[in-house]
Assembly symmetry: none
Homo-oligomer: 544 residues x 2
Amino acid sequence: MPAPHPAPHAFDLYDTTLRDGSQQEGLTLSVSDKLAVARLLDELGVTYIEGGWPGAVPKDTEFFRRAAAGELELGRARLAAFGATRRAGIPVEQDEQVRALVDSEAPTVTLVAKSDLRHVTGALRTTAEENLAMVRDTVAHLVGLGREVFVDAEHFFDGFLADPAHTTGVVLAAFEAGAAVVVLCDTNGGMLPHLVAEVVADLTSRLEAAGMAPGDGRRLGVHTHNDSGCAVANALTAVRGGITHVQGCVNGYGERTGNADLVTMLADLQLKMGIDLVPADALAEATRIATAIGEIVNLPVSPRAPYVGASAFAHKAGLHASAIRVDPDLYQHMDPREVGNDMRMIISEMAGRASIELKGRELGFDLTGEQDTLARLAARVKQREAAGYSYEAADASFELLVLHELGRSPHYFEVESWRATSHQLRDGTLETEATVKLGGGGPLGHDARTVAIAEGNGPVNALDLALRAALRGPYPQIDDFELRDFKVRILDAHRGTDATTRVLVRTAGLGLTFQTVGVGPNLIEASWEAITDAYTYGFHKAGV
Amino acid sequence: MPAPHPAPHAFDLYDTTLRDGSQQEGLTLSVSDKLAVARLLDELGVTYIEGGWPGAVPKDTEFFRRAAAGELELGRARLAAFGATRRAGIPVEQDEQVRALVDSEAPTVTLVAKSDLRHVTGALRTTAEENLAMVRDTVAHLVGLGREVFVDAEHFFDGFLADPAHTTGVVLAAFEAGAAVVVLCDTNGGMLPHLVAEVVADLTSRLEAAGMAPGDGRRLGVHTHNDSGCAVANALTAVRGGITHVQGCVNGYGERTGNADLVTMLADLQLKMGIDLVPADALAEATRIATAIGEIVNLPVSPRAPYVGASAFAHKAGLHASAIRVDPDLYQHMDPREVGNDMRMIISEMAGRASIELKGRELGFDLTGEQDTLARLAARVKQREAAGYSYEAADASFELLVLHELGRSPHYFEVESWRATSHQLRDGTLETEATVKLGGGGPLGHDARTVAIAEGNGPVNALDLALRAALRGPYPQIDDFELRDFKVRILDAHRGTDATTRVLVRTAGLGLTFQTVGVGPNLIEASWEAITDAYTYGFHKAGV
């Protein structure tokens, strides 16, 4: 490895998943989702979290309100609010969107400013001078109110290539008014690394000539998009040119082809370019965090994503196992554990058993040397995964599978039958109810046959409540557990309403949180499986 | 745009989708699939198609056999067979895998050779000298038989950084024996652009010093992987350093994180770096070809793929829409039609009046100047999106919303009531049925009250079938439409089974495909909304 780049005095890893990232087609977040994502970003160790555009997007205004009210406890990250420079022709104090930025109470404000003359005249329909005034006024206003101010120079590279003097002028105006960072944005995403290097070098010398060389109080940043397939490389090239602030989104979310993938940039900078950005143990959580954000956003991490994808360290079929054992470094560019990923996803029967043995050990089963059991388990897992089950995110269901193979299935109740009904009446009211019948015999004894009914706001909710009602008598411990999270994925969606459904349920109670999975052609049936597994597992863990 | 790079005498666009690409997890091709993909690659205009590894992979042996028998008529591309240098310690004439390369009858043969000393000794367990002999013997043997020979220098960059003299020696040996191209492979994918630039420059001066400077008869190539997120950028950087042969896979297929995306590289090289590789009208087929290959391989193109992805030119932010109305080039890095793609507006909570006006125009509504209507529509969209609706992926529901605001809602039936029941019986059988009652009055007249029942494999499927049964009488056109895709998203999932549900349904019929959305606290209710909207929209489009 080459010698590490000397760490600069300050370097920002700035995340804009909640603002630019949410401009991706198909990505819509509730305010609660945004708060959950923000907490995960903070765990990763990012320097800034751009929470959204208060005043322009109602959910974002609400996000900042709830964050200020104490719902978001951040450990390392600073919250930033995004917005625009004041509108042309009005005093900054009268601009409502600027006021909304102040009202958000975010300590840092990032303002997007036009830096490409063609956009100033063509899109904003104003003059270069007024645009510079808009930049100065808004920056100075917010600095005067005690905010840390960053300026996103929109269309910076295209603007600079068309008119370097004008675009440099915008950067100078921002710094002169007190901006701490000016971010060079490749808004259209069309840049290539060699052009980025040339522009950054040219800008830097123009700033030096103007007596405004970048330094501690005045830093340059970069914000790239992937339209030429070079978002990450363009950002790294800018860093090589002296930039000390990179902006990106987790899982490369963002408008059109997306923003630079934040985790890819983080890993490249920290593990290959010697720029320490987050604690090593936070980086080791990257895979888990990227995956969790993908689940919240319902746009799962691509299996091929660098560093964190499920296939990122999966080796060729047919590669002789002994060759890998010689030295994993011969076949891997780095140790996957540094980013919390796993080398052990190899497609071969031998590796299948090894994974299961290790997983079993994690769960407290010693299966060392139990070749038959491991082989049976590996075959069962493959079979069920082919049917749609996914044990990656359902440790509790996996544990129940292992117990079943070992002949030790926990068994607390017999299900005799269940029914769920939704109907919309003539007057438009919706009624949903479910009945559950638990059999006599089984663990509860012959007299224990129970029938219960419950109403709910949907068939799955009603079934859950009815099951709880039926179990409460013999198992009051049911009230210690609560279903927290309920995710549905339609597999083979192209088969329309005939497709197979997979449901993941997260349950919490007695200090534990665990996930169970259910699969079926019918959402209700799949949910029923995940829910009954959840209570069975919960009782088992509670030592019932 | 910067001045075009002067076109070199020869430049190869070398595709390895059928060999390296097929090592991706989840990708299995039949021989017929491979032939179909090869024909599409030829249409795109690639210089070489690496068809596979004959002798090592049975399907690949068969592919070359059928190609040689006349089943593959190539217009522009040359077929290449991939294989390895002879095994250590045996004469090349006795190596069966080398024989298989000859038997494939491919005019070009690409040999992978160890170029990293640690692999020579550690993995191959042989000496540096023997490895050089393996390279020389195999290249000379195949050149002697009239083949054009390329050598893939495996682990080139890692090997060069560890021992530049040894690795350069392998390159020299290959050229001396008659190889036309030596391909520098970043096999582990860990390179970054600045390191690639340094290595290529250093190698070039060492080759010059040895009297073997790259030139027409001796060219350097590059083969990159995306483990650092820089596959495309690394290849382009190598090209800037003088390389005249790039290897990649369509849609970035390949093991682990994949190979460099061939189409991204092609578009960057031809449209931004002035290196003409394929005819302009072939490049304009890139989106169709990439999509078609994705369908054959059953790994669809990512919506966010540069140039060819469905979202690559889809604009969401309201700010972008108002500028695009002025001039599309303000927010696009190039004209999508050059690669056969399309600009689209996405309606979402970020939609301002401009987005809605442009979207309306796409759908055939002229709302120019209708400020009140646009303002009402924008407000309605924001309100409904805050409630959980998502119009991004539901153009048909958006169109119905516009018609509603214009007082022109299409109305085909009155829903009186509906009911859906799922029950699991004592013997474990699952029964699901639904009834739908459509009211008299309304568009069908007083006598038209209808009740229908249907069974299905889930409550939503059953309701859909019951609704179709009820509508079939008055509207036989219902049979022209089919529900194709069904996506469920639980919003606020942390509220467990109490959460709000959003359902997106895709319907096809009469040459159209469209999506509708439904939202409710109850999955069934949300689905019902999406389904009734779908049939209403379908009938409206059918001119019923």
